[in-house]
């Protein structure tokens, strides 16, 4: 229903704007027209709440991100540490590490990607079904890290598009948890029907 203006903003038809404005100004007449608060209370009594489809789908997506196992080097050990008892990754719904990329929707590239591994990384990313997200964990995955040489791809975003970058060598498990939370906020803010560019 929305149309995009030249600068990329959303332009709503006039009747929709008028209806929205009108609804905000409609006074509540006791006993006849319920106020917003009374409506909400009555709905909560019977176990109903209103939201948008987009929000529910996004909530479902970000609450159960299934990472594909892509631990390459040292960062993988901290990733294992993040999924263990002290820094519990399953609080955020992401403890189900799937070996098969077909069953995963998030890829945490944890470690340095060598020239031989680059095509493999792309192949695993392509095998993941949509919607999918990529977290680039650590300095080596984000930009090549301390290895500015012939053997390491200088940043995994040369091969796959990345959503969240985590600095550190290796990042603390809390860093990975922070990245997962940021990714969750990003998913919550992304419209459901958008296409990733």
């Amino acid at each position: 229903m929305g149309l995009r203006s030249a600068d990329g903003g959303l332009v709503l038809p006039e009747r929709v704007l008028a209806a929205r404005a009108g609804a905000a100004k409609a006074p509540a007449i006791p006993g006849v027209i319920p106020s917003e608060q009374e409506l909400a209370d009555a709905a909560a009594q019977v176990g109903v709440f209103t939201t948008t489809v987009g929000k529910v789908i996004a909530w479902g997506r970000y609450s159960s991100l299934w990472p594909a196992l892509f631990g390459l080097a040292c960062c993988a050990i901290e990733m294992m540490g993040a999924s263990n008892a002290r820094y519990d990754l399953s609080r955020f719904g992401a403890e189900v590490f799937r070996a098969s990329p077909r069953q995963a929707d998030m890829m945490i590239v944890a470690g340095r990607v060598s020239q031989k591994m680059g095509p493999v990384l792309r192949q695993i990313y392509d095998q993941m079904p949509d919607p999918k997200w990529v977290i680039s964990m650590g300095a080596c995955a984000s930009c090549g890290g301390i290895f500015n040489n012939y053997a390491i791809i200088q940043g995994v975003d040369k091969v796959v598009p990345v959503d969240v970058y985590i600095p550190g060598c290796p990042p603390r498990p809390e860093g990975l948890l922070d990245a997962v939370i940021k990714l969750q906020k990003k998913i919550a803010a992304t419209p459901v029907s958008s296409v990733r560019a």
């Binding site: 020239q115 031989k116 012939y150 053997a151 390491i152 975003d157 970058y165 560019a197």
Partner: protein, 200 residues
């Protein structure tokens, strides 16, 4: 400057003046006179020989009771580009019974054919492949001389001194485009991913 404290050596192994001495003595006896050259450096006897004597030397070192160098430690190469025989191929063997370490070194150029020791020490097979991969030295008689660490279609041998290893320049203010993330990078720079992901 304060005086250096005395250096303490291992109590259980042989004294430093003798590490590898058995190897040099055996090889001087076994191989033709003049083909073996040994010198003592920092407590280690280092034996230099020619490639054609390498197999005989290694099998003698492995099987003779006085030496019994059964454990293949490693094999590597050092590149001295200003020399004629630029590569210094070094073999390290350990004898557990005598608690000793043998250091063999073979001088080679890029065209020298060095016999493979994979038949005597199975562990040398992978070390020789790594030497071939990173230095380009050919080993004759090797069961599978292919690249091991780098992709099969890689060109060049990185650990040679004339191979320049470089990733990408570090971004400063004069080349700030290198600091942008790949999605925002201008298209003339390598690594730009805008448009790289085609979606239906």
């Amino acid at each position: 400057m304060s005086p250096k404290p005395p250096v303490r050596r291992s109590k259980t192994g042989p004294t430093p003046a003798e590490k590898g001495k058995r190897a040099s003595q055996l090889l001087r006896r076994r191989l033709p006179a003049g083909s073996v050259e040994a010198h003592l450096e920092r407590g280690q006897w280092k034996v230099s020989l020619a490639p054609e004597h390498l197999v005989e030397a290694a099998s003698a070192l492995r099987t003779e009771a006085s030496t019994l160098y059964e454990m293949a430690i490693c094999m590597t190469c050092i590149d001295w580009p200003e020399r004629d025989l630029r590569f210094d191929v070094v073999y390290l063997l350990r004898s557990l019974v005598h608690n000793d370490l043998a250091w063999l070194s073979v001088a080679a150029s890029e065209e020298t054919e060095i016999p493979s020791l994979a038949g005597i020490y199975p562990g040398m097979e992978w070390h020789e492949r790594e030497c071939f991969d990173l230095f380009g030295i050919e080993f004759t008689g090797h069961p599978n001389l292919t690249r091991i660490l780098l992709p099969d279609d890689w060109e060049g041998h990185p650990l040679r001194k004339d191979y320049v290893s470089f990733g990408e320049p570090v971004a400063f203010t004069h080349n700030i485009e290198w600091a942008l993330s790949a999605q925002d990078r201008p298209e003339y720079l390598p690594g730009a991913t805008r448009g790289a992901v085609e979606r239906p």
